[in-house]
């Protein structure tokens, strides 16, 4: 429900390759504009930090302009500016932080430097309303794989576990390369997997029964490569669809298993999934099945809000404004390894 007395927050996100600018009024989404440099990275098989940083500088002003136009607002309507202060690529983050400081200083409005991961949680409010307190959040992307306990997204986020090596999305990218699929691998593996069987190959599930809420995907990625190489060495055909489906099944099996273990362990009845990998169709299906079986309510924002975007930053900014949190000073750094326990800086 949009109320005209709620603050208009401009959110800026530049932690990786997407220049994201979002505008919210309270928790009503007004604009979510994204310029991606992904096409420039694809031929390198991964995001090149300097390429991303250069693209952010080029794209920022036009993206802000685009978001304002989409929202039907002028810059002077903005009541607060929120920006991803970390974690992420240092040089990329710094472009967004510099822009946010300048907009805040120029407009004379408060600045909020926020945590990227907490913003991935906060964004769900734009689609599904206020967050249950507490919630468990599973954040899975090319840069992160984390399980969080979220008593209050504006003030209190606790890390329960994270990957000890590759992020889930990174494993998708690497396996896609082994299978000759393009970068970024996630959508291509998802598509290829629809024609294959998730049980065709029994790939290993790292840290499946270790009792922690951590993840490991490096061994899985290597196992897939070994399996493919062995078939090729033997002159046997490799079913891309079966390998993709079996790999994907291993990833989403571990992710959903640990997410529901977290719900059980902390007696929390609400699970939220965010991050780019949350767009994976099999993850959504399996998570729903397992949540239904465990009596846990599942919240997954639509794909456009799962991948990196500015609206998620604006959404968390709106929480901070509402909670009366002190704004950030104009000398905040961009912190590439900002811990999740620091929701705002």
């Amino acid at each position: 429900m949009s109320r005209t007395d709620e603050p208009i927050v401009l959110g800026i996100e530049t932690s990786c390759d997407e220049t994201g600018v979002g505008i919210v009024r309270g928790h009503t989404l007004l604009a979510n504009t994204i310029a991606s440099s992904m096409d420039e990275h694809a031929r390198f098989g991964g995001v090149v930090p300097e390429v991303a940083s250069r693209a952010h500088l080029e794209a920022m002003a036009p993206t802000v302009e685009g978001a304002l136009a989409a929202a039907g607002l002028r810059l002077s309507d903005v009541d607060a500016v929120a920006v991803t202060a970390g974690p992420g690529l240092a040089g990329a983050l710094l472009v967004g932080v510099a822009a946010a400081k300048a907009y805040a200083m120029g407009l004379g409005v408060p600045l909020y430097g926020v945590n990227h991961l907490a913003a991935h949680v906060a964004v769900d409010q734009l689609e599904h309303g206020p967050l249950p307190k507490p919630a468990i959040a599973l954040l899975v992307s090319g840069g992160h794989s984390s399980l969080l306990l979220v008593p209050d997204v504006a003030q209190d986020v606790v890390s329960l576990g994270s990957t000890v090596d590759d992020a889930a999305g990174e494993a998708f990218d690497k396996v896609a390369r082994v299978l000759g699929l393009p970068f970024p691998g996630g959508p291509y593996i998802d598509r290829a997997a629809r024609e294959g069987s998730g049980t065709a190959v029994a790939f290993p599930r790292g840290k499946y029964d270790d009792g922690t809420l951590d993840f490991s995907f490096s061994g899985l990625k290597t196992a897939v490569a070994r399996w493919v190489e062995a078939r090729e060495a033997a002159g046997e055909p490799v079913s891309v669809a079966d390998v993709a489906a079996s790999f994907q099944e291993a990833v989403v099996d571990v992710l959903t298993r640990k997410a529901l273990q977290a719900c059980a362990r902390y007696d929390v009845k609400d699970l939220l999934i965010g991050g780019g990998v949350a767009a994976n169709s099999r993850l959504r299906v399996l998570a729903q099945e397992r949540c239904d079986a465990a009596g846990v309510r599942l919240r997954v924002p639509r794909p456009g809000l799962c991948t990196d975007n500015g609206a998620m930053v604006a959404a968390l900014g709106a929480n901070l404004v509402a909670a009366g949190v002190d704004p950030s000073s104009l000398d905040i750094p961009a912190d590439s390894s900002l811990p999740i326990t620091t929701v705002h800086v």
């Binding site: 940083s53 036009p62 710094l94 490569a225 190489e229 104009l330």
Partner: protein
């Protein structure tokens, strides 16, 4: 913004320039009123451009008693310089200019260093041609050759210090870092750019521009080549875009590495 004259060829008569540069280890900001540098703040810290710039801007505004919205032009050094710091200044200039509806311009950082050598009474005054060299990291320097304080003859380029043209005095941190290579007797002038010099240089040029020229320069153009050529025609002022001189480090990968022997 103040304009004088009438009709065609209307020229800027009143300038209040906020200038800053983050293309070297110095984070420097200044305010210039068309005649003088009213306030300046410079801190040398190669790793904290992102943290230091906005407070430095606030500081010079406070010291000069000027409100941001009264500034008529924003000018940022366009480098060349280490990219992460460089982008802080240019991003700030672009965003800040949008909020106050003023134009943002870029000036080559080496030009600002060169300009400081021609300021009478300044230490490091140089008579005759010279080079400006700054640290480009990777054992290289960004450099340019000047006929005098306001005339760039060659560059900016990026090269190894021992490939610099011989004999001429060398101004800037690049000279000091590689004094042994180029010869200690060639080291001259200021080490870092000052936003005061940048602002003075820009204010002088702005005062000579027509309204149309100022508007054209300040735009973030789609056609980069056009605007660069236009900037050359009109002298040192250009759009607030970075001078990188190197491509990003990135290699197109070959086939995936085998995991089995």
């Amino acid at each position: 913004m103040g304009w004088g004259g009438a009709g065609e060829g209307l020229r800027l008569t009143f300038v209040l320039v906020l200038a800053f540069d983050t293309a070297t280890p110095a984070v420097t900001a200044a305010l210039h009123d068309g005649d003088y540098v009213v306030a300046e703040s410079t801190t040398v810290d190669a790793r904290r451009h992102g943290e230091l710039l906005a407070p430095a801007i606030e500081q010079v505004l406070r010291d000069s008693g000027v409100r941001l919205r009264d500034v008529t032009a924003i000018v940022a050094g366009t480098g060349p310089g280490p990219y992460t710091g460089l982008r802080v200044g240019l991003m700030t200039a672009t965003a800040l200019a949008t909020t106050i509806g003023a134009p943002a311009f870029g000036v080559c950082t080496l030009d600002a260093i060169a300009y400081a050598t021609g300021q009478t009474g300044q230490t490091g005054e140089i008579d005759g041609p010279f080079l400006v060299a700054t640290d480009a990291r990777r054992k290289e320097v960004f450099w340019a050759r000047y006929g005098d304080a306001v005339t760039r003859l060659d560059g900016p380029r990026v090269d190894r210090p021992d490939d610099l043209p011989p004999d001429l005095p060398v101004v800037g941190a690049g000279a000091r870092m590689y004094a042994e290579t180029i010869g200690a007797d060639r080291v001259a002038g200021p080490e870092h750019p000052s936003a005061g010099a940048l602002a003075a240089l820009a204010a002088g040029r702005l005062a000579g521009l027509t309204v149309e020229e100022a508007a054209e320069l300040a735009e973030m153009p789609d056609g980069r080549i056009d605007s660069v050529e236009k900037a050359r025609e009109l002298g040192v002022l250009g759009p607030p875009r970075p001078i990188y001189l190197r491509r990003p480090d990135a290699q197109i990968p070959g086939a995936p590495k085998r995991v089995t022997a």
